[in-house]
Symmetry: C2
Subunit: 363 residues, 2 copies
């Protein structure tokens, strides 16, 4: 891995993150392919919308089809037929958010599968092993994603465990995989800084901020975004996990973050919420029934070039899979196009005015 | 419309059906796009799998989004972004199969929408009007699709009504739309022949056999297929409606039919049943979990060229839309490729041996 900051504009920055399977232009958005498929989209459509890297979930791939099956297939890239970079999370977040029963010990987490109730154990060693079998390009350290709300004491103990686990991950990662650490610390600034400091001392390839967008009020999230980036090494990629809406990403870029992932564009698309430069559209709304114009006439995506709002409205109401597909293509294109515009604005030292203009058009 | 028989091999024949929007090679299979979308598939993927014409359902488009909306959009082709030929059925079949309440009179059928229970009326005039607003290339005469089982007396009265309606349709069709009549007569050979005779006398552009594959035993359907084609004009396209499995299509081609439509390839795909030259595959079966070979190594479709059985098994079990899409692409390609092989075999006067070989490999 090689990361270079190319240009800064305030705290916002563009960069190049070179990985064996491809070079990413940062700030970058990573579509989420939870179970080895970005929902409703083919790998070729992902290329068409401009995706440079996708995220897959270790927890899901571990449970089904299992990392042995993926390894047998030649790794995740071959299994899903995507030859550009893949980032896998550590499994930590899903173990907490999806598993009906879990028990944390010093070595890891015992939990039950949300699919069939079977018992499993994943700790930092296991997470590194699974991610190695998957063969992802960027692997994440196994962490406890502290829930919201948590007490100060619990959050402190939890981040210290995450730090000890991070150390084990560092010892167990093997090249060419690139390991990122995850800063925890909940809503407590001093704990966030403590977590960042401990992890910085271990010299990871990149740093992520986890445990945000887990139910805390939006102002608290933005407060964390605001002070967190500056606490992470400036010569390493900074990844804000699971965030967010376009306005959140703009704020985080402004603060100095480089990498993002979120299910919002794909999930909202499936429910008929479409993003345009002039704000959100609920495509099932009857005012679109006879609207024979493109969804967004400024957009260059397959959906906008080939179909009308009227047809998208019809597909939505009829429950057609094609509607979900076309919506997903549009929303992903919209996010990836936004990142392109963000990078251009930073390069041209006009990020702040770009952000203001963009947000006022989006109202 | 211009139809030419190009070559005959026994009763099987190849032909060219020239329509304003494209020329079809017969025997032809028409993928079904019930509500203005072939389920899970984009129009560009339809081209990729080799579709030359698709079928849309008048009943569904009438109820939602309504033919006025479609006409406003510039017709069905523009609405759904498919510029090759479209055949619309008359609405007759769905009025009987989907509507919870219906009352037949000399003028047509009063029925309730299966979507919202609202009251509607469609007769031969209305069907022609709706299909004209949709702007399809081939329109079907409004018929009563006699249910199975029906008495001889009911079937006789029903086919005579269908004949009178066909006459009204003939008076109300406008060029460039091409009108096909539908032969009814249930399971009674003399009534089938009577229906065919009456409709032949009116000189339609093409002739369809309806009211088969509506629940009757397979032997009865094959009996009807066996004697029916010869009773239809040899210089007009012969269309067997709603049939069927590959083995049914092979039998019908042998009898002299030229056109087919069926939801089997798309519907079974959504439920994980995939067709290969060596028979059907239930992709969710655990024996495919670690099978890292293509679904059908003889197949040239996008799915078989890019993905493995193991991945398709995973997508199916995970309930991923991409699985439904890849399955649908494969099954449609399989059907359209079968038609290509059928045409080649007829051209080379070896249809009978082709059929035998194909069926024995498919067991």
């Amino acid at each position: 891995m090689d990361f270079r900051v190319l240009h800064t504009d305030g705290n916002a920055r563009t960069g190049r993150l070179a990985l064996a399977r491809g070079t990413l232009s940062t700030p970058v958005f990573m579509p989420v392919g939870t179970m080895g498929a970005v929902k409703a989209i083919s790998p070729h459509e992902l290329l068409d919308v401009g995706a440079e890297i996708i995220l897959c979930n270790t927890y899901h791939m571990y449970l089904r089809p299992g990392q042995e099956t993926v390894a047998e297939a030649g790794g995740l890239h071959k299994f899903i037929n995507w030859d550009r970079p893949i980032l896998t999370d550590s499994g930590g977040f899903q173990v907490y958010s999806l598993s009906p029963l879990r028990k944390i010990s010093e070595d890891g987490v015992t939990f039950r599968s949300h699919i069939d109730g079977s018992a499993h154990f994943i700790g930092p060693r296991e997470s590194m092993e699974i991610q190695r079998a998957l063969g992802s390009d960027i692997v994440m350290a196994f962490d406890e994603c502290t829930p919201y709300p948590s007490t100060y004491d619990y959050t402190l103990k939890s981040l210290e465990l995450t730090t000890r686990w991070a150390e084990i991950c560092l010892k167990n990662v093997e090249k060419p995989q690139t390991l990122f650490a995850i800063v925890q610390g909940g809503v407590f600034k001093d704990l966030r800084l403590q977590s960042a400091r401990q992890l910085k001392d271990m010299n990871f390839d990149g740093y992520a901020v986890g445990g945000v967008s887990v139910g805390e009020p939006k102002e608290i999230m933005h407060e964390i975004i605001g002070y967190m980036a500056a606490e992470l090494p400036s010569d390493k990629p900074r990844y804000l996990m699971g965030v967010g809406f376009p306005e959140d990403i703009l704020a985080a870029v402004e603060a100095g973050f480089d990498m993002f992932d979120c299910v919002i564009p794909t999930r909202t698309a499936r429910h008929g919420t479409l993003l345009t430069t002039h704000g959100r559209i609920i495509i099932g709304n009857s005012r679109f029934r006879r609207d024979h114009t493109p969804l967004d006439s400024d957009c260059g995506c397959y959906t906008c070039l080939n179909f009308t709002r009227s047809y998208l409205n019809h597909l939505y109401k009829a429950g057609e899979i094609l509607g979900i597909r076309l919506n997903t293509i549009h929303n992903l294109y919209f996010y990836l196009d936004l990142m392109k515009k963000i990078r251009a604005a930073i390069e041209q030292d006009r990020f702040s005015s770009f952000k203001m203009d963009w947000l006022s058009a989006y109202q």
